[in-house]
Structure formats: structure tokens, C-alpha cells
Amino acid sequence: MAGLGPAMTATLDLPLPPTAPAETACAHCGLPTPAGKRFCCPGCEAAFGIIQGLGLGRYYQQRLLDIGARALRPEPAERWDLARHVAARPDGGFELTLAVDGLQCGACVWLIESVLAKQPDILAGRVNMTTRRLHLAWRGVAADADRLVAGIEALGYRLVPFDMTALNAAQDRKGRMLLRCLAVAGFAATNVMLMSIAIWAGESGIIGPATVALLHWVSALIAMPAVAYAGRPFFGSAFAALRQGRTNMDVPISIGVLLVTGMSLVQTIQRGADTYFDSAVTLLFFLLIGRVLDHRARGRARATAEQLLTLRMTDVAVVQADGTVRRVAQEQVAEGDRILVASGERIGVDGVVETGATSLDASLVTGESLPVAAEPGTAVFAGSLNLGATVTVRATATGGSTLLAECVRLIEAAETRRGRFVVLADRVARRYAPTVHVCALSTFLWWFFVAGVPIGQALLTATSVLIITCPCALALAVPAVQVIATGRLFHGGILLKSPTALERLADVDTVVFDKTGTLTEPLLALAECRDAEALAEAAAMAGCSRHPLARSLVSAAGRVAPASDVTEHPGQGLSRMTDAGESRLGSRAFCGGSERAAAGPELWLSRPGRAPMRFGFDERLRTDAVQTVDRLRAMGLKLALLSGDRPAQVERIAAALGIADWRAGCSPVDKVALIEAMGANGGKVLMVGDGLNDSPALAAASVSASPSTAADVSQTVADLVFQGAKLGPVALALNTARRSRSVMRQNLVLSIGYNVLMVPLAVCGWVSPWLAAAAMSSSSLLVMANSLRLHGRTDA
């Protein structure tokens, strides 16, 4: 799987800087190093030493570096309040689950587990590669967690405590229950089928009636407990639907399976010729395969989405009464606490600036692309990025008045107004179930009253109608496609969070984009740079900083080895001593830049004996935004742009993309109103947005998407989350959804067509158990094979 998180591989139309002489890769993390050195930084050198010291050097020969994953360079780690997440075990030990960032391949799993195994008192240290989580258990004291985690972080991995939510555990239990049911149904299906083949073979007269009766009884003894056990997922769902006065696909399935089993039991007791135990359990087996696959595919997408959010979690530096700083989790911050926000850090809570002045990138919150100034008294919102100096923020009420609370309220309102979506399978089931049951009933009535056969015979014929119409292929028609489509999207970096999102996507006729962070890249990009050599020099210094502008500079310069002798001056910039004197990179005041230069976010570079030089930054379209928008237009979709930013910025972007329908300066309420107006005119809107201010609009649209860089609330609300630096996944998702829908419809036609063919035979009483079993299996396989066609084509 490609790595988590956006890969920052932006290219810029600037003259490429001359590459550093004899570029070599760091022996630990694989990033470029200064000429002649083996390591890019002291952290990597230390990690290399630890690994060699433990005798695990084999790691370097066996690993396969994943370019998409985060490089394995140890970074100054956030200090977590781990004790809060540690749980006591019944055997006196402690345990902790953490999300791991930076896993490259199986070798990393081996390395982490081997390092942990060498620690004293460790009970278990196991990495789950599928969910990318590390489970730790140890004896001793709870505080040992810090030591264990620090040991792994020193190798370059990032660990974030992960809370197993109740929802998560329920999902897990359901998955296991389905697998157990599948196992039981599979066991019963194969064994009952063995008996059935003997019975069918015996119809030519080679086995006597007593043996047939015996085989029927054995079949009954296997099938009945199996149906009772493996049928639970269907019975439960059918019962719940009936109680609410609805029907779904599980209703005809449950009725069919129960009636068939009951009828076959009666036949067995009466020593009749035909039983359908094999059909009942095979049907359950096929259906459960579909359920298990569906559950797996969705569980995986959800687990990855959770992982993304967990890795972005940060804690908050609270200034204590005695002036010391303690890091606590966001939800532990109380109203009135003073919080220290360093340069390059995201503000964790809503509040008011108390001391210090800075500029904030509030694009995730308000959609405004250019930084805003903040000084004592300015209200700031959680999610804003501090671009300037360190400031102190006093946390304000987390109750009804904050922006977040306002958005959550709007989301709830929008969700209640949005009608419940009925999936295709349920819409079919609503017509299908009554039709089938009326058909079976009339068959019984006709045979009993008109044709005058004995009641048992009439019941048997009616039951065979139910078996033939039991919606096996129909119930597989939709899930089989969904599993394949979800898997395809997953590989394309799209996480489908809602089970109905695929069908809602296929109906979309209008796509509404947010501007900042959705059409444009999440980080500001270098827009003004007059000298490639200076850029390379600046990028070498910037490589040592986590400041957003410094990171933009590095990504614009391409692969440049970071300098090793850089000092960071918080809130001002970076400096480095060279042979000629001191070089500086940072704010205008820090570097002595000219006052006459243009406004906007900037960095200055001053070098000994040369005039200071300005690097200007501006927002920039995602690299494939123009192609994606053109493709969407070619698919016949209407496009619109709703932004909270100022008109000039929005108009520029709208013009570049050729979107005629744009609005600037929209508040969250405006966005919801506009989207609901489109929906009221019969439009089906896909909203793509990332900001906190977009979240109510995401909830109001008929289906919604967010990039994985979006605000937490938006990602939680969105039906799908796409990863990476490109916008292409939006087109891929729409394309896949449309093709899935056409395959779903073909499947439905196939399975209903098969019923139309077979039902007359059943009504006439010409269906025997082997014909029913063969017809059911072949129609299910046909539907599966048709769904697999989605796999082949890669034109998206």
C-alpha cells in the first residue's frame, strides 16, 4: 500500500537549482545527505547506532523503502501524556495501543518487534501491519510506557496513542461473528451436499428408501443447527426492518430459508422424496461470502481514515501557574487556561491571543488563503496554523459560542433535513419481496383448490417457488460490485466511509468545490524567486525547520540536502555560520529586508556581502486541478465554486479553471443555503471541501468528499476521504461509481431474468432439488463473474 499522508512532491516552473555535488543517500533514512557524509542528521546517525548495537543491522539489507511513506528520520517528538492511555491488565501488567507512522515494509515490523523484544519486562510488542497499530504490554509500572515509546521513536517512527473506541470494538465483533457464521455455513453446505449427491444418484434406484431416509435425517441434523446459527445476521436485520414497517433484502432471504428448512423437515419426517436442505445452507454460504467481503472492505477503509486522524492529533502546551509548561490532550484544556503556541504549530483550542503578535494561516478554518494578522485581543480558532512568532492564547468557552460548536450545530441541522437515502438493493427488495410471496401463495392456492392435489404436495410446490426465487443472485448483485469498487478506490487513495456513498456518487450531476485547500494546495507555494542558486541555499537551511513556509521552500527546491549547522531563532528565522559570515533565513526584520517590497507571506534570505532577497508565497492550484476539472466537465457535470475567501482570489482561481459559477465571501450558512437550493431544484450535489467552514455544506450535500489534509470535523462528516497531493481521485471516484452502478444494474437484470425463466417451472411443479441447487449456484456465479469485470478496466 502506498504510504499514508500526502506526498509533497510538488514541482514548480522555476529554473532547477544546481544539485548539490555528489548527492548521497542517508544510510538510515534514505534522504539526501550533505556531500561526503553518511548520515543526513545526528538523529539518523544515532538510530543507525542503536540498530547496529542491538545486532539488528540486517534490517538495512532487508528493507524496501516506500517512497510514499514518511521518511524514517527521527524528529523532535511531541511529548504525549501517555499515562492517560495506558490500561491495566488483569495479570498486573499494563498495555497501550499506538498508531505507527513511517512503516515502510515488513522489515520495519520485524525491526520494531525485535527492538521491543530486547527490552526488559516486555510482555508483548506486536505491530499489526494491516491497521498500522502497535500493541504494547509490559510488567512493572505504567510510566515505563514513556521509555518504550521513546526507544521506538529514536529509530525514526512516529507513535501516537490510539484510543480503541466502542464503535471500533463493535465493528470487530461483528466481523468475527460473520466469519464464524461463514465457517459454519461452509461446513454445513459441503457436508449436506455430499448427502444430497448420494440421494440424487440414488434416484436411479441403486439405493433403497430406508437409506434415503437416513441420508435425509443426517442432512436435517446438520442443516438445522447450521441455519439457526449462520442465519442470524439475516434474521436479525429482517426482524429489525419488519418491526419498523419496512422490508429489505433480508426479509425474503429469511422467509425463504426458514420456510425451505421447515418444509424439508416435514418431508423428512413424512419420508417424502424431496428435501432442500442443501439449497438452504448453500444459499446462506453464498450470501455470507458477500457480507464478509463487504465488511472487510469497509472496515479497512474506516481503519485507515481513523489512522489519518489519529496521526494528526496533537496535544496542547498549557502554561501552569508556576510558569512551567505541561503538555495535555486537547479535551483536557479548561476555559481560561493559557496556552503556548510555537511558530509552525497548529492552535489546539479556540481562544483569544493574550501576548505576542503573529500571523495565522486560518485556511482550514475560514477558507481564507492569505495569512491574517493576530495581536492581543484577536479571537483565534482551533485549527489555525501559527506562521509567525510564539504567542500565548487564553482558551475561551468550548460551549455554544465557538465556531466549532456553531459548525457542529449546522451539520446536525443539515443532516436532519437531508432525506434518508434508500439503496438500490432495498428499492428492489421493496417490490421484490411482496411479488415473490404473492406468487408462492397463489401457487399453493391454485394447486390445492383448483388442481385438487393433497395439501402436502401443494405446499411443496409453493416452497419450491420460494427456493427458486430466493434472492441469492439478487442479494449478491450489489455487494459484489461494492466490494470490488471499494477495493479499487482504496488503491487509488480514496477511502469510502459510507456504505451508500458509491450509489449516491453515481447520481451526482453537480460538483461544488471549496477553493482553499481543495482546489489549491494545502500549503502556500513559492511564487516569487529570482535566483535558483539562492533558492538552493535557502532550502538547505529551511530543511531544518518545520515551519510551513520553510517546508514550501524545500518542496519547491526539490531534493536538497539540509545543512547541518543551522540554529533556529523561534519566531524570527534560521541562521547559519559560513566561512564568509552569517547567513540568515527568516522574517523581513530578522534579515534586514527592504520595506518597499510587496505584501503577502514571505521569507527573506540574507547572505554576507549580498543584498537580502525575498521569497514570496501565494496559493497555487493542485498540480492536476485543471485536468480534473476538465474531465469532470467532459463527464457532463455542472461545476461550481463556493469560497469563504475574498473575491479577487476566488475570481483568479475560477478563471484559471474555467468555472463560471463562483461565489466568494460565503459564510458556512451561505454555503449550506446554496447547496440546499441546488438540491431543491432536483440536483444531486457532490461537495468537495476541507475547511471547518465547509463542514455544514458537506453534510448538506447529497454526497461529500474531503482531502486527507482537511479539518478533523470535515473528514468525519465527509462520505469519502482522498489522500495525496492531487485532485484526480475525485474524478476517479465519480467514474468508478458510475461504472459500478451500470454493473449493478446488469447484475440485477441477470438475476431477475433468471427468476423470470425459472419461476414458471417451479409454479408448474417441475423443479427438483438438484435443479434448484444447480440454478441457484450458476446464477450466483454468473453475477460474481460479471462484477469482476470492474477489476479489469483501468481507464480511470
Binding site: 464464524r180 459454519v184 461446513f187
Partner: protein, 46 residues
């Protein structure tokens, strides 16, 4: 016909053992990390 009864019981017992083995492997979490299991086999040497 006694042989039939005997064989039926034997085959069912064998199949039930297979089912029990699967349920056991499920309960001990052997399906929780299929990606990891696929990679782990390349490294487990101690």
C-alpha cells in the same frame, strides 16, 4: 449398511475437526493482520 453409518459418522467428525480448527484460529486472532502475516514469514528466524 452398517459401514455406511460408520463412514458417515467418521466423515462428519473429520469435517467437524476442520470447523473447530478454523473457529480456534479465528478466536486467537490469526485473521486480524493478513498483511503482517504475509511479510512476517520472511523475517521470523529466531
Amino acid at each position: 449398511m452398517t459401514i455406511l453409518l460408520f463412514l458417515l459418522v467418521v466423515s462428519l467428525i473429520i469435517a467437524a475437526l476442520g470447523l473447530a480448527a478454523f473457529l480456534w484460529s479465528l478466536r486467537t486472532g490469526q485473521y486480524d493482520d493478513l498483511d503482517g502475516a504475509a511479510n512476517r514469514i520472511l523475517f521470523d528466524d529466531d
